[in-house]
């Protein structure tokens, strides 16, 4: 980037909100995604809407890219800097303007931390269900941009189900307001669903209007082991078919259980091939009835030991295994690649089998856990980024997993987003026409291709420049992978 351009940027945001030291560039060269990184030219913390607009106009005029960023916990590379880019950090926009208890809505800034927001609304007996794994750190703006999910997706849906409206700055620098507090609103195109999950490629959010629901007052937690992994999959399918909607059905395979047991020593059965963690919630006696029905379905499906928690502290101890799953896996090897292939729920048993097949065919260690209730699995490859051949095998294993998911009518990503990590698989998931339609939208909204270029898709003919790559130690990774 030209020095003059950097000076202009500094002038827009003020020098105390502008950072371009080597230390700052290094510490904004990554997000939560493994293997990928690239240095930005500078990092800014904009102070108001006007500054964001000016930065975007300058980006078009002086041809550089803008990469919006929240807490940087994403797993698909959405906030990793691209070539010749300016990182725009929104974490200081962290005000909650209003929690409207009459309409059950909340108006927030994009930098509000998801977990803190949940605590605030729960004080008023209200509930904001989306609970991505990084909820104590990640921001609502990032959640909306990635359409984040979580453990409660099965019953309560994901972020998009709670977005009523947004205010945003478009790549042209113009301001756009979408949606409002209405429960029903069919005025024109449903633009909300275009911008939710747009991964910072269509605009920068400045305000978000969220829907809230009443907080459930009662819950029951159940854990169960299975000697045969297939029975766990069947149990999930049977529970869904019996018209019960638990607030969560979480799954852990044997590899994951063994890692958890190594790490926590809580007495998991190492011989079991799978375990499920289920939770039903609501108000009144229906919670107990649902729990009973679930237990009888589990028994019919050759369940091993079943444990039921009545109190909050018992529930917490039952959840230990699931809560430590990611930590336990992450400790096993230096590099942890966590993916989120998703299939229709009826196909879950097949998909679980396919993940096992991938691990053995490509000779990589894959722990599988995830949100069984909504078909969203987290096959997690435990590897070492310094071992180029193993990384290549991991990449191939994931290629296989994604293909199998698509064959089953599933998708390459349930909740992490496409970003850079899954860009090469996007066409197989949404089709040529799907990608073309997306490109048209991107080209119309962002003709200069200044906002997070190269993420999700490549808009021809402008070249995005070098995209972030894994560490220099593994040269020509993509050309290897394509062979």
């Amino acid at each position: 980037m030209e020095k003059a351009t950097l000076e202009k940027i500094k002038k827009i945001v003020g020098k105390e909100h502008f950072f371009d030291s080597p230390e700052d560039k290094l510490s904004y060269s990554y997000d939560g995604t493994p293997l990928l990184q690239q240095l930005p030219e500078a990092v800014v913390f904009p102070q108001n809407q006007e500054q964001i607009g000016e930065l975007l106009r300058l980006a078009s005029a002086d041809s550089f890219a803008i990469v919006p960023r929240g807490a940087g916990t994403g797993l698909s590379g959405g906030s990793i800097p691209v070539a010749n880019s300016l990182v725009v950090v929104m974490t200081k926009w962290n005000r909650i303007f209003e929690i409207d208890t009459a309409n059950l809505t909340a108006l927030v800034e994009p930098g509000v931390v998801t977990g803190l927001f949940q605590k605030e609304v729960e004080k008023l007996g209200l509930f904001y269900p989306p609970d991505p794994g990084s909820m104590n750190v990640c921001t609502l703006g990032g959640n909306v941009a990635e359409n984040a999910g979580g453990l409660r997706g099965l019953k309560y849906g994901v972020t998009k189900n709670y977005v009523l409206g947004v205010e945003m700055i478009l790549p042209s620098g113009e301001f756009l307001k979408i949606g409002g507090k209405n429960v029903k609103d069919v005025a024109g195109y449903n633009l909300k669903d275009v911008v939710v999950g747009s991964e910072g490629t269509l605009g920068i959010f400045t305000k978000i209007l969220l829907k809230l629901i009443p907080l459930p007052t009662k819950s029951k937690t159940i854990t169960v082991n299975f000697n045969k992994i297939i029975d766990s999959g069947k149990s999930v399918a049977d529970i869904i078919a019996s018209h019960i909607t638990p607030s969560m059905i979480e799954f852990l395979d044997q590899t994951t259980m063994n890692c958890v047991e190594d790490y926590t020593n809580i007495g998991l059965d190492r011989n079991a091939e799978a375990m499920l963690l289920l939770e039903v919630d609501g108000r009144g006696s229906s919670v107990d009835e649902d729990a009973e029905t679930i237990v009888s379905i589990l028994k019919k499906n050759n369940a091993g030991q079943i444990r039921i928690a009545d109190t909050a502290s018992e529930a917490l101890s039952l959840k230990t295994a699931r809560r430590s799953a990611f930590s336990a896996l992450a400790r096993r090897k230096p590099t942890t690649i966590l993916e989120d292939a998703t299939v229709p729920r009826s196909e879950l048993p097949v998909m679980i089998e396919k993940v096992r097949e991938a691990a053995s065919n490509f000779n990589v260690l894959i722990g599988n856990f995830g949100h069984a209730g909504d078909g969203n699995l987290h096959p997690t490859c435990l590897t070492d980024e310094r071992d180029a051949s193993e990384i290549l095998r991991a990449h191939r294993a994931f290629g296989f997993i994604f293909n199998e998911a698509i064959k089953l009518g599933g998708t390459i990503t349930g909740e992490h987003g496409t970003g850079l990590a899954k860009k090469e698989f996007l066409e197989s998931a949404v089709g040529k026409e799907g990608i073309e339609f997306m490109k048209k939208i991107k080209t119309v909204v962002d003709p200069g291709n200044v906002l997070n270029p190269g993420k999700i898709l490549t808009v021809a003919p402008r070249c995005e420049g070098n995209l972030p790559r894994k560490r220099e130690l593994i040269p020509d990774f993509h050309s290897h992978a394509e062979k």
């Binding site: 080597p22 290094l26 904004y28 930590s327 230096p334």
Partner: protein, 435 residues
């Protein structure tokens, strides 16, 4: 870019690729980090600092002023280690970075020399520490303090100096090491053989807490050995980049304690206990000491850890107070001790244990951080004080001298009607409230 000398320095002290690569930059540490909360800059976060250390180790980043600043800005509270899913040992990384900074990068020569002199020649030498403490006692108790702070407070430029002065703990009239006998016997039959680590700050500034510890241990049938030759544990040195001095002190302590016959070495200073548990790691490549250190570290127990395992109930009497508990970083994050002190407090009749929001959030004391980085420490303290007020407690209990000093300073600064006590002092109170 780097000279050969610098390269060998980095290779010798910075962790290798195997260790650095364990950070998967997921960002879970951000919400736990007090300094990231203050600046909201990645470089002030554990994940950012690890990235910088990695770049320095790879030779792609100089040991710059900003690098040194960020490493020293870190409280080393290790809350990030508790939050880290991958089990990254961040504290060790940042401490090793400080060694490299101390050895290569010159901060203000005067500041560095003064810090070194204090750490190496005063704290590490107990008789000199006692002389300094005696001078301070004289200063604090014979009108000099009032005179000096009175004069200083006239000048606006000296405001910070007066504030830092007020951080100084009240020096005890008699140091505990002079009162406690080398061997103390319980009245009843001996059930446990204990070696007692007096700590440096505890000894001169909180002598009463050491005496409380002895009394409580006696009550629970402990024979206690308190060797006079024991020296500073070295934790302050290790945390401030003086690793060689820390090792030297560790060796001395091993020489002293390995001559004794005991089951547990009890510490009532969280920072010392945490560091003595690390001796095994610290000296693992020294054939002469590795085995001794392993044995020693295995026997170290915090006083709350010991008390939680003892049958207390019959000996306790009512302490009618609303109490809250502040987790010292070196207890909860380094030693993973959170349940034990609460278990002890909960057994005391009449005592109501109230929750403290963010109880594991650093108070800003962090060794000598509240002196070396007074303004940052004050911002961190403010958050603690706010939570303390909201807890509704009239007594805050904790397990580390640094925290006790910092909390007392905060309570004075904000004028709160709250008393600060060590866990063991509350237990002694409860034992003696026998009316």
């Amino acid at each position: 870019m780097l000279s050969e000398k610098e390269k060998s320095l980095l290779k010798k002290y910075l962790p290798g690729d195997d260790v650095l690569i364990q950070c998967m930059h997921c960002g879970m540490c951000l919400a736990a980090c007090p300094t990231y909360e203050l600046t909201k800059l990645e470089r002030s976060s554990p994940r950012g600092r690890i990235r910088l250390i990695k770049s320095v180790a790879e030779g792609t980043l100089e040991i710059s002023e900003t690098f040194a600043e960020e490493m020293n800005f870190c409280l080393d509270c290790q809350a990030c280690e508790t939050a880290c899913p991958a089990g990254v040992q961040y504290g060790k990384m940042v401490e090793s970075a400080r060694v490299v900074i101390e050895k290569s990068y010159t901060t203000s020569f005067f500041k560095k020399s003064f810090k070194r002199f204090m750490l190496n020649s005063v704290v590490a030498n107990h008789s000199r520490l006692k002389i300094l403490a005696a001078m301070l006692y004289f200063y604090q108790n014979y009108g000099l303090r009032k005179l000096l702070t009175g004069i200083l407070s006239i000048f606006p430029f000296a405001k910070k100096l007066v504030e830092i002065e007020s951080l100084m703990p009240q020096i005890s009239k008699k140091f505990s090491s002079e009162v406690i006998a080398e061997k103390t016997f319980p009245v009843n039959p001996i059930k446990h053989k204990i070696a007692f680590s007096t700590g440096c700050i505890m000894d001169v500034a909180f002598a009463d807490i050491n005496l409380d510890t002895i009394e409580v241990l006696k009550k629970f049938h402990c024979e206690i050995q308190t060797p006079k030759e024991q020296v500073c544990c070295g934790s302050l040195h290790a945390h401030n980049g003086e690793i060689e001095k820390a090792k030297e002190l560790a060796r001395k302590n091993l020489d002293v304690f390995s001559n004794l016959d005991y089951d547990f070495l009890i510490s009532n200073s969280a920072g010392c206990g945490a560091f003595m548990k690390e001796y095994a790691h610290l000296l693992n490549d020294e054939p002469q000491y590795a085995e001794k250190a392993k044995l020693f570290s295995g026997k170290v127990k915090d006083i709350s850890e010991f008390l939680a395992a003892v049958e207390l109930q019959d000996s306790l009497h009512s302490v009618d107070e609303k109490v809250t508990y502040h987790d010292a970083c070196h207890l909860c994050h380094s030693q993973k001790i959170t349940e034990e002190p609460r278990k002890v407090l909960n057994q005391i009749p009449g005592l109501t244990l109230l929750p403290l929001e963010e109880s594991t959030w650093c108070c800003g004391s962090a060794g000598i951080y509240n002196v070396t980085r007074h303004e940052d420490a004050d911002k961190i303290l403010e958050r603690k004080m706010k939570n303390l007020v909201e807890s509704g407690a009239n007594m805050v209990v904790t397990g580390n001298p640094g925290c006790i000093g910092q909390l007392k300073y905060g309570i004075r600064k904000y004028g709160l009607p709250v008393e600060v006590l060590h866990t063991v002092s509350v237990v002694r109170k409860s034992i003696e409230n026998n009316i």
